[in-house]
């Protein structure tokens, strides 16, 4: 059990900087997911915490100890690798007990701990098998068992589910979540899959090009993305990003597109009339049919249907508004519509996110300007910690 702290952590490979000064505080027992496209530095950060990569600049603390110069084996962290990295010549039992054996624990204790972990992971029938005689999911479990047996301060996961097929991935994801609820060990989990990030994380860290784009709970990064990149990376299909101009109509501040005007829910002091903005709408913030009743008339308009895709319980609609703005809506139920037909749509404009078109950063709402800031401020951390404590109790 330990908190993990990264202070201005930099990683250079030769002259190339791949991680540019990361600051991150991970609370004790927290499940943190690092997510981002390939090459964003997420695996490098994880490997620096593990001690498998040196830290070019900055400091990493595990608990109260600066581990910059500490050997991987003395950091008391356990890592689950993408390809499992099981020792092929050892049985499942020996794989899981290897770290205890290295620590010269008595054989009796090793057997006990391995058996306990194996029963938890339903691996007992396979303890005498070698990894080659196991299925992908079982190998994955052995890798997790190997990590659990050590009772480490921190669990590190490097894309552990990416080698599994879709069905097994969902199942293992849930098992991982349950394991974390059971052990409440601080966990750092790297993935490029935003669904894994959304479902597993207490807080998500979104990275791009070695820089943190946003840190927040899954709902925060979904509803209040810090910039256009986060808006489009989190969520599938991604957030619709449209162009508009700030205008005032009948006394209300809003966004004007070519032919329509959508008033904002409240006045914002940091916007001025004539200001160009990008505005983002989640596909599930666009309604049609019966759900339109909940949308005030000023947030509705007419759209042309380009394509409908039925996912099962939901449908995706490719829509065109004002003859030129295309967007994707995700609506409940199976919707079958002719291409080219017109449909009345409503925007949940209370969920709109405005971005500066040049910096692509979010334009903070009034509420945000007044204090409850985003990201890693101490207040948020404390509030969040309390939330976790409630969870675990």
């Amino acid at each position: 059990m330990a908190k993990v702290e990264l202070k201005s952590v930099v990683k250079r490979f030769g002259d190339v900087r791949v991680v540019h000064g990361i600051d991150l505080e991970i609370a004790d027992n927290e499940f943190i997911v690092l997510v981002g496209p390939s090459g964003c530095g997420k695996s490098t950060i994880l490997r620096m915490v593990a001690g498998l990569e040196s830290i070019s600049d900055g400091e990493i603390y595990i608990g109260d100890r600066c581990v910059n110069e500490v050997d991987p084996k003395s950091r008391n962290v356990a890592m689950v690798f993408q390809n499992y990295a099981l020792y092929p010549h050892m049985t499942v039992h020996d794989n899981m007990g290897f770290s205890l054996d290295m620590a010269k624990r008595p054989q009796k204790e090793i057997n006990e701990k391995v058996r306990k972990a194996a029963s938890m992971l339903e691996l007992e029938p396979y303890l005498d098998r070698k990894p080659e005689a196991l299925s992908g999911g079982q190998r994955q479990r052995v890798a997790m068992g190997r990590a659990i047996v050590r009772q480490p301060d921190v669990f590190l996961f490097d894309e552990p589910l990416s080698n599994l097929d879709a069905q097994l991935r969902t199942q293992m994801r849930m098992e991982l979540k349950k394991l974390h609820m059971k052990f409440s060990t601080t966990t750092i989990y790297v993935t490029h899959d935003q669904i894994e990030a959304m479902t597993l994380a207490d807080r998500i860290v979104i990275l791009k090009d070695g820089l943190i784009q946003q840190v927040g709970t899954p709902v925060e990064v979904y509803e209040k993305p810090a910039n256009v990149f986060v808006a489009q990376f989190i969520g599938n299909p991604p957030m619709n990003i449209l162009e508009g101009t700030v205008a005032r109509d009948q006394g209300r501040l809003g966004v004007r597109t070519k032919r329509s005007f959508f008033p904002l829910q409240e006045d914002r002091k940091n916007l001025w009339e004539g200001q160009k903005v990008l505005f983002g709408l989640r596909p599930d913030a666009i309604k049609i049919g019966d759900s339109l009743n909940r949308i005030p008339p000023e947030w509705r308009c007419t759209a042309q249907v380009e394509l409908t895709e039925i996912l099962g319980g939901q449908s995706l609609l490719d829509l065109v508004v004002d003859d030129e703005i295309s967007l994707i809506a995700e609506v409940e139920g199976r919707v079958q519509m002719q291409a080219g037909s017109s449909v009345e749509v409503g925007f949940c404009f209370d969920r709109v996110v405005l971005f500066d078109p040049e910096t692509e950063e979010a334009l903070s709402s009034v509420a945000q300007l007044e204090g409850t800031a985003e990201g890693t401020t101490p207040e948020r951390d404390i509030a969040h910690k309390k939330e976790i404590e409630v969870h675990t109790n």
Binding site: P72, V77, A85, Y87, H89, M102, R150
Partner: protein
């Protein structure tokens, strides 16, 4: 499954058959000559099967070559074991513990493979004499160990490149150090590598002649030198050197027969998702 014999296949097999006969001819000649009594050996009847099979050449040759055989066994086993183990450690470092400049050092290392025996003969002789190792088996063993390192290191480095680095990293996090990773993880996975490398080294060292004759005194000569002396007299009874060469070939043959099957085993199966 029925296969049609196309003209091309037939031509191929005929050519291969001729080559096999060509290749086995010396072996047949050696066997036939070894089994004849000295009186029966003559050029006109050289290809004929012996009228009476005479096994005594083998026991006679064995008596004459015994000291050389023993020398060669000691030399080959020691030099093969040492150069293989050292090569394995080198390969482990060059593939999994790379350091600044290790690629350059490895490249320089490989130059050693392209130096012919003859080129370093004189400096080698002088070095061994300076080290007081000239004339005996230890000196020859040392020479073969050093000379074998480039090739054994190369084979092991390429072999270890197939072992996923994550395995090493995982062992590091599990608390294993440089040597315990080697003994507990890398070495058990290296059996095919050891088989390939020791087969290669065994054959090379067993068959080597030039250093054997120049770097050891008479009593320490290896089998290749003994064989040459058997055939080097004034009136040669050809049955003896022929029987001797068959005897000399047996250890290498046996090694291939018994260790060859390890080539096929894939001991890495199951370490990572295939």
């Amino acid at each position: 499954m029925e296969r049609k014999l196309s003209p091309a296949t037939i031509v191929l097999y005929v050519v291969l058959g001729i080559l096999v006969i060509l290749y086995l001819m010396p072996a047949y000649m050696a066997l036939v000559t070894a089994l004849k009594s000295p009186a029966e050996i003559s050029l006109p009847t050289a290809w004929e099967w012996p009228s009476v099979i005479n096994w005594s050449s083998f026991s006679e040759a064995l008596d004459l070559l015994k000291p050389n055989l023993v020398n060669s066994l000691i030399l080959t086993v020691c030099a093969t074991a040492l150069s293989t183990v050292l090569g394995s450690l080198n390969g482990y470092v060059f593939s999994k513990w790379t350091f600044r400049g290790s690629e350059i050092i490895f490249t320089l290392f490989l130059f050693g493979m392209f130096i012919p025996y003859q080129v370093i003969l004189i400096p080698l002789f002088q070095t061994l004499r300076a080290m007081n190792l000239y004339g005996g088996l230890p000196g020859l063993i040392l020479a073969h160990v050093v000379y074998g390192l480039p090739i054994t290191s190369l084979i092991f480095r390429n072999f270890y490149a197939q072992i996923p680095t994550a395995l090493i990293e995982s062992a590091r996090l599990d608390g294993a150090g440089f040597f315990s990773i080697y003994t507990r993880v890398v070495f058990p996975l290296s059996i095919p590598g050891f088989v390939v490398t020791s087969l290669w080294q065994f054959t090379q060292i067993w068959n080597e002649f030039l250093w054997g004759i120049t770097l050891t005194r008479h009593s320490e000569n290896p089998i290749t030198v003994g064989l040459a002396q058997l055939a080097g007299g004034q009136a040669v009874s050809w049955n003896l050197p022929m029987a001797g060469s068959i005897l000399a070939a047996i250890p290498v043959l046996l090694i291939y027969v018994f260790l060859g099957r390890y080539f096929i085993r894939g001991l890495l199966a199951g370490s990572v998702k295939g």
